[in-house]
Assembly symmetry: C2
Homo-oligomer: 340 residues x 2
DNA sequence: AATGTGTTTGCACGCGCGTGCAATTTATTC
DNA sequence: GAATAAATTGCACGCGCGTGCAAACACATT
């Protein structure tokens, strides 16, 4: 009724309001909210008190605009059929958030090219874009980088040859070597490699490492088939198809899979369609250690990526704690269960 | 070499730069980028040309700040063990993006209470916060809403009693009724209900509907067990535990599960631990129709939520096309496979 | 009390764009 | 061709906060 001050029409309460109530300047208010700012304990308490009663919170949008740092990281994913992505998302969002970074999730399944999505991310001034998908090529990365605006481009859980890019991934070569050694030691001699999409950039991947290693050891290159997406269903179809074309079943005693998503499909195919047992008739070995791999039904022998370490590594890169390495490798761990 | 204009130190190119090059005012430049703005075709072309050569893109941060609309939606999830979440994420991000909305993903697994996460979201001025998890209670929602700043609070794929909230979900009651009818028709008479966490808000959920319906039909309330999280592993343990306590196996001819995450665990338990067949010995019916449900190994009979329609519904609510309904129901579809 | 050191505080200016309206240009009509 | 309507363009002001520095203050020392 009486005098209602110059309160804003709606109820956005800004630092100015708090400042007035606390009897300090606006800048002191914002300082109070900065972790290690130069401010006395007393005035910080005054400010916090006032902020409390007014329900004030600093506006990250305005802050980002002014400071040119958004504390926002963009995650680009196109590979939603692979259950491992959910694990990654969980881990990444958790670790990022613990470090004060928020996550912008972009689904690039629709895009021909990730460039458009990257552009979109750049419009939000994200501090970094993290690629977790499979569709992007080194060339499209280059294009996107040309437009700049995305300060850091990070390829997660995969390596990229683009020098302007930082890769954070499991050491695939060491991993496949370990897997190969394990297989050989266990006496498997007729492997089939089940690979993912081949269209991606020509990095020395799991398939290449395995085939080469096997070639070196036995002088023969194992057979392989590839699946168009990391999708258990497609893997299932592919395996069924393979054995339809190669009726001499005893030509394969183990299927080595590029990841668990494929491995799960392979197991299903072996049991359901071929009517065989895993691992007695055909063994299966995966990669990633998705939750399903540990289920009673699959008991998948697989290789666990050190996701937490990788996520922490990502944060280090983002914070600039460890500059200019184009590639950060992490060692994983072979998890032996029953499927191989 | 010669004169290099007053180019900014780093290379952020703003609308002003484009304006200068195109020979128009800054406002015309920004208009050119607005879908249906009042601008002549000719000057739009001029602007777009200049923007192209300069590599200009409008800054969404500044735009959000000025317009007070961020086109950002915050998704809060805590339930990463449930594979269905990945499907939801895929669908939501896709549909939102198609409608010009970006997605902020927040992992609330760590939080005692979603309030903190909501507060964080509010600092980014998200246009809406969408809750997809299970941990939040109606009370914590109320608290969060008290602080305002989050313009719209939406509960997705679940109903909430909070009147300031908009629920977008599958019609659980209709669904469970259909499921019950199906079960009854198929001759099952000894159901066990496998429920999720019971700590959540007291909405009339799938369990209640099923139990009540069965009670009405047969005068007896079926047994039920509940699992602490929607996690196949925990469901497995729970089912194993149940049958350890109830050795008279023929007391159950079907396990009705609150969702597929649980159903998958149930199937594993039945086969692996009990050594029984699905559906011959014990049938299983799920809910959600996760990708796994369609795999050769599970062939789960389940109920598919109309995710796309729900996502579109979400967009409508966000755009304000369909105001003030506290609850939007969508009808799903029973998917009959082999598990029941 | 004067000097010096270290700590707090205040402030001018800018981040890049939106809003609403007024000025200007272009199209339309008789 | 003048008058009127319609389409297009320009602009002052503000969104909420950060940066870097200078002024103000506190405290210890001689």
């Amino acid at each position: 009724m009486s005098q209602m001050e110059n309160q804003r029409s709606d109820e956005t309460v800004t630092a100015d309001d708090v400042a007035k109530l606390a009897g300090v300047s606006r800048w002191t208010v914002n300082r109070a909210f900065k972790k290690d700012a130069s401010i006395s304990r007393k005035s910080r308490e005054k400010v916090m008190g006032a902020a409390q009663t007014l329900g004030y919170v600093p506006d990250l949008l305005a802050s980002s605009l002014a400071s040119d740092r958004s504390n926002l990281v963009c995650l680009l994913i196109d590979d939603f059929a692979n259950p491992h992505k959910l694990v990654m998302l969980e881990r990444l969002t958790r670790v990022l958030r613990k470090n004060g970074l928020d996550t912008l999730l972009v689904n690039t399944s629709d895009e021909e090219d990730t460039s458009a999505a990257l552009l979109n991310a750049s419009q939000r001034r994200v501090d970094a874009a993290v690629l977790i998908g499979i569709q992007f090529t080194d060339r499209s990365l280059a294009t996107a980088l040309g437009a700049r605006r995305v300060r850091k481009l990070i390829v997660f859980a995969r390596s990229s040859e683009n020098p302007d890019t930082i890769s954070i991934c499991c050491d695939d070569r060491a991993a496949m070597n370990e897997i190969t050694d394990y297989i050989v030691e266990k006496g498997y001699r007729k492997p089939l490699f089940l690979a993912g999409p081949q269209s991606t950039s020509a990095h020395l991947g799991r398939k290449e490492t395995f085939l080469k290693r096997w070639q070196d050891a036995f002088g023969a290159t194992p057979d392989f088939v590839s699946v168009a997406r990391y999708d258990p269903q497609l893997a299932y179809d592919q395996v069924v198809g393979y054995f339809a074309d190669h009726p001499a079943l005893n030509n394969v005693d183990i299927i080595v899979c590029e990841n668990d998503a494929l491995a799960v499909g392979a197991v299903d195919a072996i049991r359901t369609k071929l009517g065989l047992r895993v691992p007695e008739d055909i063994a299966v070995i995966g990669f990633d250690d998705i939750p399903q791999a540990d289920s009673a039904n699959y008991k998948l022998t697989t290789y666990r990526q050190p996701l937490s370490a990788m996520a922490e590594g990502l944060v280090e890169v983002l914070k600039g704690t460890s500059e200019n390495e184009h590639l950060r490798h992490f060692l994983g761990k072979l998890v032996v269960r029953e499927s191989a």
